[in-house]
Symmetry: C2
Subunit: 510 residues, 2 copies
């Protein structure tokens, strides 16, 4: 807190999280005939219209969503929550919603930070949240082919536990891991913290099964194909607008016998990005490879603990590191490339810190989102945003996003890290902290987000999202990225799969 | 020949390649107004309607296409050949064809083996071949990001030569390498012989520029994205039905300082597939990794030469190898995984043959297609077909395709290799030889191809094509693979990009 108020200025008394009783939940608009059809599809016990059930599926976990739980009034609440028990029941729910012209918001872990699960009605009279929590099975394992078929509602830790019984792992660990589902990972093109070793989720998905208003849809019979365009890549990332993903077939791997996390310090952001680029372009990335800029490194040293910061500062000063950038490498299994990676790091002047900072990062790897609640209590505006671009434009993108955020907010802290590196480029992940404007908390962040998004989109500088997906919040920037033809093609695909437009109204701009 | 006639039986006198004069080239149906618009778009010198120019773009290089050049009558000949000079001119050609309702067949190297460049008219009065040969430039190189932008008409060897001047390589070497173009590689989801090291062409493509009837379309601003479905994966593989690819942005790598090709013999097909699976699942594939079944190994030893076959047979007999399967590994650059791969091979009982068979394969790597002309002269029916599936179903797929081909043909030789291996599965590439039926040469192969395709498609046993694309020949099997919803989505995307349906009529079933 001392560090934070020194950086972002004094904080105003903050609105506490509002009790559920503060929310006026509008009565369900679900027509009786539609409700009857849904009961017919899944059973009366799985059509929920209590206020708390509906509130519990009202929106995701963006900063704006968290604010909406403190300033009642802005939440879009579904008219009912429907909880089918298997893929066939999902199809029947979709069919019932088509028949009765009711919107359907597929709901997995509810961790969207872009409004992807907002219960928007679009042009429909009513909208339901289709909660996939009962689709929680590991359907089959093919050890020879290293494939596993999961139902879409399986959460990250459950997938790992179910696979561990077979000595296998998925290796997909995004920050939302504890709550998010495999269907959600597929629907949003998720990238996990170990993407350098295991790939993005879309790389793992070998098959997908969907329930669409035009009928069941299965894709994926081979590890690779030239049978026309890759429609699996169209279903993945469709964010519930083309169909409800009910099963995913994913590549799995033997569980690594050991994991080793370690830290290094690099000399300034430019040096840090060049070292990560060298690792990526020489095939030497660790399964987890992430490097923080100077500001994020400072906060990590101040807040994360786990290794002695004063001693560390002396250690770095003695090695003339003036702008430390923390590099975390996580190696899973035998990691035959590690020795060469360490030689490259040594030659580049990296200062090894041993395992402590790596273990500290691993220990707190999922806690970032939870810290936002405490910060909101204190009157802080706190949010993240991310992008990616090719290496040659990475510095410009980094600078322009920082300029935009510093221009839109008063005395913000803007931190950044690279957590996904490729041969041709990398992601940039920004965390923003500022004193919350008590008079206009929503507008404050909306303006900052718009400034950052415009800086990213301008002249194709980067993608509007590397792994947070589009939802509602990024939809205005999609046309700049995929072009007028792309928007038309997407709308046409939507029209073919979902002619009445019941699926996830308003997402992806559809 | 002795070996071949012993295996497939006596050959009938064969039709020689017909001279151009044997072909009755129908007069061009291109309306004068359309021709004037095309002249306006590209200049009079680049609208060709001579018979030889039109015949030269009539079809590709499948066995059936080769037969059509020996039995005049079956060739679909375009009404004109239009040769634009840059991406803007391509857009103007497309616009002119939309305005005058003329079909457009994009034509690169003309190496399609699935009817992908057949000059079908669909419901149009006329059709042109849009030849991309003048789009032959390397537009830009970004060394930092390892990216190169090429115009779509650049052929494989020219791409390598242009990149070599920068010390870079693309690493994409399909068997069609000598003639095929980068635009064609992208349009058909090509996979090169070094796909284990460099990936499939779709993995290399980071950006694409198309001319569509709905206007110019550019995709790809970042190495990875979650901005909705991956539309780049929809444009790639669209086989000219959604737009004409005019530029591709591809990942490039430093040219390897050395390449090492070597051979091994494995003990029977089951053993061979298990060894390749072990290499793939342990990250030990060579850049080029291919293994032949017993029949293909026998033919290779009989025909390819380059290493002493009698001595080899004695060498193998001494090591009790009774069903030799030839494994070729090609290592590019330092290949740090080679030592571990060799240990795995040794432990698996592989017999090393040294460099001679590897070099023999490399020497002949592009010659297979040309040998077909000589075999056709002799009265042989010769063609290839390919598929892919997951490891656990590979043996069944292999067996069923062989059964189908043996059932449909009289005394065929059916050879097979795996040339593309993945963690979760592999491709199967079949070469078929039989005595050509002089009375019904077309029907003979059509029946065999149908039997094989049905064996592949049945119960989702494999993909109808791993890298030959769909064109006309595989279109009947697409619905089984992508489903009714997939076919509808594809048709809708087509409708959005090409509302009047001028682009490559009849391909992909569109």
């Amino acid at each position: 807190m001392r560090w934070l108020t020194r950086r972002i200025g004094p904080l105003s008394p903050a609105a506490p999280a509002a009790p559920a009783s503060a929310f006026v939940v509008p009565p369900s608009r679900l027509p009786a005939a539609a409700r009857a059809a849904l009961v017919d599809a899944v059973g009366a016990g799985h059509v929920l219209d209590g206020e708390s059930e509906r509130l519990g599926r009202a929106g995701g976990m963006s900063y704006l969503d968290l604010l909406r739980r403190r300033y009642p009034g802005g939440l879009a609440v579904p008219d009912a929550v429907v909880v089918p028990g298997d893929p066939d029941e999902v199809q029947r729910v979709v069919d019932a919603c088509v028949a009765h012209d009711v919107g359907v918001v597929p709901f997995g872990g509810g961790t969207s930070v872009v409004g992807g699960v907002a219960a928007l009605r679009g042009d429909k009279a009513a909208v339901i949240a289709l909660d996939l929590e009962r689709l929680d099975r590991l359907v089959s394992v093919d050890r020879t082919s290293r494939l596993a078929v999961f139902q879409a509602g399986v959460r990250g830790p459950d997938a790992q536990r179910l696979l561990a019984a077979h000595g296998l792992t998925l290796g997909h660990v995004p920050q939302s891991f504890e709550r998010a589902t495999l269907g959600g990972f597929a629907a949003t093109r998720s990238a996990g913290q170990a993407s350098s070793g295991y790939g993005r989720f879309e790389d793992m998905v070998q098959g997908v099964r969907l329930a669409t208003p035009s009928g069941p849809w299965r894709l994926g019979v081979a590890p690779a194909s030239a049978a026309g365009p890759n429609l699996r890549a169209l279903a993945v990332g469709s964010e519930g607008t083309l169909g409800v993903i009910t099963e995913v077939t994913v590549r799995v791997r033997p569980s690594p016998e050991r994991e080793r996390y370690e830290g290094f310090v690099l000399r300034g952001w430019q040096h840090a990005t060049e070292v990560v680029r060298a690792l990526a372009q020489n095939g030497l990335l660790a399964d987890v490879t992430r490097v923080s800029d100077v500001d994020e490194t400072e906060v990590t040293l101040a807040l994360k603990g786990g290794f002695a910061t004063k001693a560390l500062r002396r250690y770095l000063a003695a090695r003339r590191v003036h702008e430390p950038c923390l590099l975390i490498l996580g190696w899973h299994g035998p990691a035959p490339q590690r020795a060469r990676a360490l030689r490259l790091l040594k030659a580049a002047g990296a200062v090894p810190l041993g395992r402590a900072p790596g273990e500290a990062w691993r220990h707190g790897r999922f806690s970032g989102p939870r810290q936002r609640d405490a910060l909101l209590d204190l009157g802080v505006c706190v949010e993240t945003l991310e992008t990616a671009t090719h290496w040659s434009r990475l510095r410009e993108l980094y600078d322009e996003v920082r300029v935009a955020l510093h221009g839109a907010l008063d005395r913000p802290v803007v931190m950044c890290h690279i957590s996904h590196a490729y041969e041709t480029g990398a992601s940039l992940y920004f965390t923003v902290l500022a004193a919350r404007d008590p008079h206009d908390p929503f507008g404050q962040w909306e303006r900052a987000k718009r400034a950052a998004s415009e800086a990213i989109s301008e002249r194709g500088r980067g993608t509007i999202t590397h792994h947070h997906a589009v939802g509602v919040d990024h939809a205005p920037y999609l046309r700049a990225e995929i072009g007028d033809v792309g928007v038309s093609v997407l709308a046409a695909a939507k029209q073919a799969a979902d002619p009445k437009g019941v699926l996830n109204p308003g997402k992806l701009g559809l």
